[in-house]
Structures are given as structure tokens and as C-alpha cells.
Symmetry: C2
Subunit: 403 residues, 2 copies
């Protein structure tokens, strides 16, 4: 696998653009992503029972297995907007399809922003028309910026692999910030590849990979109405079709996992108001799934997150969050350590506290990137989850998001 600089236009046959259409005051707020030909597609969407109109539209697109384009707006989520919202999503797909030269059923629509405000369709449709002539290979930076809301930086990743002598490339862009939680949250992610792969194989790979990447991050524990992870594979690399379980699949999976994992971690690093990036590793658990439950519980705990804000080696809160996770483990076997660029301290052995230097602990925890390792000493199950600290800024940003 080769890591490359780039994003959704890195694979052959994809172009993108991003513009300011007037939904936000000044920042870019609409993006378009188009494949030169029909692409196999797969997608996963929010598990929230309250689903935004574009998600309901996109579920049909994903089910058909074929797609050509994705149109995205930020600034307005088109959620809780009733019948008009559904018509607006469909109309957006229709207009985009006409511009691209395809059927509306092959156009994904994604929205993110404020809930419960009808879309300004005049701006959306004018935006779609403005985007079309600006499509280019270089458009990925603008596109990645245009899908952001309270994000403080764009999130992109790309990688390539050799499959049967052909170079296959995967690129992606995402937006995150607040409301990020296991089970996907207000997160939009768009992944492109020029691989030859069926939508069924892609869906299987996507489901498994999301479980270990986007579903292992937490910013604040809320799962949103709009989150979507959409993949388009246009086959233009000309490789032999990737079949589940063959060598090509393995190589492709590695790069696919790298792109999704990188985007997931970038989202956590940019958690609303976040000052620290926390990696929670659980090893020695009874199974991988028990390890996942434990790791997610720790990174989702408000008390743990507040402790990291205060650079406090509060291992008791970590053990406590493992304890109420519902996972099967024996607290009296757990070892716990904290590490960062400044070193490592072990604070718990066999469920009991070890004496440690508070000064050293503070030095380690004042770093921006902290790793916590919990060893359950019960089996070979492991998992990694990513989170951030809970800060004054989180409260400030979310205290009056609408205004």
C-alpha cells in the first residue's frame, strides 16, 4: 500500500468541485463529485430513527447498486423538514442528474447543518449549476472544504495498491466535529475508488470496515439524523474484479481500511472544542467484540473526557467506564497505563493502583496525543477506539449552535 496526498479525485475518472452557494454566510457550502461512468456503490447510514430527507433518498440509490454522482450541501441538514424535505432532496438529485447526464436514481444527495429549516432550493439549484463547470481533478480541496460545518480543517486521505499489475487507488473526504459517536453520528464520508469490484462485495467490506473505524470514535455521544458513508467504485483501474477472500481483496482491504481509519481519526482530532486526541487500546480481552465495547465505553465517558482536559491521570474513571460498559471482564485482572511522546506510566496492576509520580503523569498527559492501554489478561481480544477531551469550548460551541 502506498499512502498518497489526495482525496476523492485521486482514483481515475473522478472530478470534484466546491463552491459558496449562499447557504452559509461566507464559507464554501456545496460540493459535487462525479464519476466519468457508472460506478458500483455501497453505503451505510445513520441508525437514528429520525432520518433526514437526503438519507431516505440515498437509501434507494444505494439499494440500486449503481451511482454516478454525489451532491452535498452544508449549512442545512434538511432534517425534520417533512414532505417538502423529501421533495427537495429528490429535486436536487433530478437537477444534478440532468447536469451530469444521468438518471436521478444514480445521484446521492447529502446535507449537514441545522435541523428543521427548509432548504433554500433556489440557492441549492443555482449552486448545482455553478458546480458543474468547475468540476476538475484539482477540485478535491474545495469539495472537502465545502462539506464542513463546525470542522476546523478539511479531512482527506488517499492510498493506492497494486492488484494484478494494475494500480488501484482509493480516496476519501469526510466532515465531522460534534455529534460524533459510535454508530456514526453527524459524519459525512465519501469514498471513491477506480477498482473493479461489485456493489455486493463493496457493501460487505464497507460494513466490516466502518465497524472498526467510524464506529470506534466518539466526540460527544450523540448519533445524528444525517450521517452517511458512501462509496463509489467506477472500475476504471481495469484490474481483475476483486473477489471476497482473494489476494486482491486483501490488498484492497488494507488500503480501504487505511483511508476510512485516517478519516475517522481526523474527525476525532477535530472534535468540537477538542484539545487532546485519545487513543484507547484494549488488549487481552475475552474477544474482539468485548474489547470493542470496553474501548468505546471509555472514550464515550464524559468524566474520562473531562479528566483528560485537566491532564489528570484519573485511571479510576477509566476502570469505572469499563465496569459499566456491559462487557464481560474481570476488573481485578486489569493493568492500565498512559503514554504519550513524554513516556509511559503504569497506574494499575491487577485492578489495584500502583504508586506513580504525579509530576511524571502530568508531563505525559499535557501532551496533545495520549494513548491508554488496558490489558484485561483474559484472552486475545483487542480493539482500538479514538476520542477527545471534553472542554470549555465544547460547551461554548454547542451552547448556541443555531445562532
Amino acid at each position: 500500500m502506498k499512502i498518497i496526498e489526495g482525496s476523492v479525485t485521486s482514483p481515475i475518472g473522478f472530478e470534484a468541485a466546491g463552491i459558496h452557494a449562499g447557504l452559509k454566510k461566507a464559507k464554501k457550502d456545496m460540493a459535487l463529485l462525479v464519476s466519468a461512468c457508472d460506478a458500483s456503490t455501497a453505503a451505510v447510514f445513520t441508525t437514528n430513527r429520525v432520518k433526514a430527507a437526503p438519507v431516505l433518498w440515498d437509501q434507494h440509490v444505494a439499494a440500486s447498486g449503481k451511482a454516478r454522482a454525489v451532491i452535498v450541501n452544508s449549512g442545512n441538514a434538511n432534517a425534520c423538514t417533512g414532505e417538502k424535505g423529501l421533495i427537495d432532496a429528490e429535486t436536487t438529485a433530478e437537477e444534478t442528474a440532468a447536469l451530469v447526464g444521468t438518471e436521478k436514481e444514480k445521484v446521492y444527495v447529502a446535507s449537514t447543518g441545522v435541523i428543521g429549516v427548509p432548504l433554500d432550493m433556489e440557492k441549492i439549484l443555482a449552486g448545482a449549476r455553478s458546480l458543474m463547470p468547475q468540476l476538475s481533478k484539482e477540485g478535491w480541496k474545495d469539495a472537502a472544504a465545502a462539506i464542513c460545518t463546525t470542522d476546523t480543517f478539511s479531512k482527506t486521505a488517499a492510498a493506492s495498491v497494486e492488484i494484478g499489475g494494475r494500480t488501484v487507488t482509493i480516496g476519501g473526504m469526510a466532515k465531522g466535529s460534534g455529534m460524533i459517536h459510535p454508530n456514526m453520528a453527524t459524519m459525512l464520508a465519501f469514498i471513491t475508488t477506480d477498482a473493479v469490484i461489485s456493489s455486493a462485495t463493496l457493501q460487505k467490506l464497507l460494513g466490516a470496515t466502518v465497524e472498526d473505524t467510524f464506529n470506534m470514535i466518539s466526540v460527544d455521544g450523540d448519533t445524528s439524523t444525517n450521517d452517511s458513508c458512501i462509496v463509489l467504485a467506477n472500475g476504471m483501474a481495469g484490474n481483475d474484479e476483486i473477489i471476497f477472500g482473494d489476494d486482491g481483496y486483501e490488498a484492497f482491504e488494507e488500503a480501504f481500511r487505511y483511508v476510512l481509519g485516517t478519516l475517522a481519526k481526523l474527525i476525532t482530532r477535530d472534535g468540537e472544542g477538542a484539545g487532546r486526541f485519545i487513543e484507547m487500546q484494549v488488549v487481552g480481552a475475552l474477544s474482539d467484540s468485548e474489547a470493542k465495547v470496553l474501548a468505546r465505553s471509555v472514550i464515550s465517558s464524559s468524566l474520562v473526557k473531562a479528566a483528560f482536559f485537566g491532564s489528570d491521570a484519573n485511571w479510576g474513571r477509566i476502570l469505572c467506564a469499563m465496569g459499566y460498559s456491559g462487557a464481560d471482564f474481570n476488573p481485578s485482572l486489569v493493568d492500565l497505563s498512559f503514554s504519550s511522546a513524554k513516556g509511559t506510566i503504569q497506574t494499575v496492576r491487577g485492578g489495584e493502583p500502583l504508586p506513580f509520580s504525579e509530576e511524571k503523569a502530568k508531563e505525559i498527559l499535557l501532551e496533545k496525543e495520549i494513548t491508554v492501554v488496558a490489558d484485561c489478561h483474559q484472552g486475545s481480544g483487542s480493539a482500538v477506539a479514538w476520542g477527545c477531551d471534553l472542554t470549555y469550548d465544547y460547551v461554548r460551541i454547542n451552547g448556541d449552535y443555531r445562532s
Copy 2:
């Protein structure tokens, strides 16, 4: 039912005391509660897999069905303290039993405070000895103060009812503040009554009542290692035994529910750094249990809590939190309104936003006590949950609790 001023010493035959034993710098940190005779007892404890030593001890006391005394310390949770912690809890029970003149198996031990630090047993045992001569009817105020940690006020409640011509009294005290969540959290509650009631009936009543009171509050979503709700019924009112389902039971249940509900709400009002008290009512749900899941999801959402801090009528976040709760409901039927002493505004009808005056909304939401009503229009299920806002102070208090 008659609401009375008082607490755990309001029922006949109970005395209490609270002192500074030196576990905290200056504040009261140990309490003793004693019944004049053996009492029927019932209790519920944390569901956290990491249980503090006193909880493990108390489970045996509760199982025996009989108790005489409760000894409590704050400042140190005696959690994650290994074998020494277990011995310390038992030794505390033993010393207290000797002072009171009973067996150690009839003495509950409760601890709350920092995790992972061994108890200073010299101070604990000296404290027990100092408490004994100070037991009195008036000691409830000192006792209620001594069990507090980051609480900013003591939490007490009491009520009496007539059962078959006899006055039966119920009193209680609790401590809460952070780490309060459905499934009980770092909450200690001690309930006394002079009713004649079996421990089996008491356990049944306690389980059902906790479900509607302490399990319907949320401060920060963490469930602690130490939470316990312990009830002693010494029978000194001399009423005919309360039997499940008879008139006496109904009258007793009302007062019991009042005492537990009042303590639960006081805990929420005193949530760490909380500035606002939020009551979330769900009506018209498919069942009471679906309503409970919906109400709890809303009051547990960090985004909803932050919105209340900003006095923001962000109904979208409330619908969103209902949506990811896992409960069965139809979002497109939901009505939503906010109210306070300043009036009421409806913001959602049939799942869609209604126009409302932001000025009026702000006026309503600047109040300290806010009620949100969600009507699901699907059935007759209802539930009420209580929470608080998420504030800068929460982050500050929890950012460096240990120091």
C-alpha cells in the same frame, strides 16, 4: 400523605450523627445511622462490574434481610482497593457493630469519594467511636452533610401516612452530584421508616420505585462503582404489616415514592456545575417502557444539555436524541413544547417545525426550571425524566477532581 421537614431520623426509633473524622480537609466526612431495634432491610446497588468493597459487603447484609445500622464515609470511595479494601469494609462494620451492640452482619458500610486510595482506617475507626455518643434525633442534618462530596447542598426528604390508624413515617437522605445517570451512578441514598413491612415486600417496592426515580435522572452519563440505595424498616410504628396490594401498601407506596422522587430531583438540581433543572415528559408513547427510554435518552444527551446551557430552543437535538434511543416511535407524529414559569411554546407539530418567536423562547429558556413535553401520539405510555444542563463548571469541576 403529609410532607414533613426532616430526614432519616423522622421515623420512630432512628438516630443519626455526622462528624469531621479527617478524611476531608475540613468538612464533615463520616455519618452514622442507627435503629433502636433490628429492621427489615432492602437495597439496590450499582450495576457496574467494578464494585467498591463496601458494596460487596453490603450485598451480604441486604441478602440477610435484617440490619441495625449504616456507617458512611465521604472523601474516599474504597473502590479498586483490592483485598485490603474488603478487609477495611468488614473491619468498619465490626467496629460499628461492637459500638452499637449488634453483629457486624447487620451493619451496612458506604463510602464515596476518590477511587483507588486505601482507607485511612485509623481515622475511620476513631470516627466511628466519635460518632456513637453523638447519635440523636437532631443528628440528621449533620449526617446528611457528612455524606456529601462535590454536592453543594444536603439532600433530605420525609413524609408520613396513616395506615390503619397508625402514623407511619418515611425519611431519607442522599448524596449525588457528578457521575449521576440512569442505573444509579455515584449516588448514595439511605431511607428509613418505622413501618411494619417484610424485607421481601420492601425489596419489591424499592426495585419498582428506583426504576421511576433514581433511574430516571442523569447528570453526566457515568455509572459509578459505589452507588447504593439502602432502606431500613424497623416496625416501631406498630401498624398492621403492609402487604403487597392492600390499602396500606398503596398509601405507603405514595409516600415512599415521594421521598425517593424528591431525593432524585434534588440530586439533579445539584448536578456538577448545573445551572438549569430540566424535566423531560414523554406522553402518548406506545408503552411506559418506550416512554422511559425516550425520556432518558433526551436528558442524557450532551448536545441537548449544552443547548439548555445556552438557553437555545434546539428541538432538533431533542428529536435526534429520541431518534437514537432505540425506542419504537414515529418521528413524524411527535409534538414538542418547552415551558417554564415564563410560559410555553410549541416548536414541533407532527414531526415538523412550527414557527415560533425566538425572543419568547429565550425568555422561557432563561428560567432555571424548564419542562419539555414530547407527545408521540401513538398510545398511552408516559414517563418523566430529570436532568440538568452541561456547563463550563461541569468541565472545570471534573477536569481535576483528584487534586
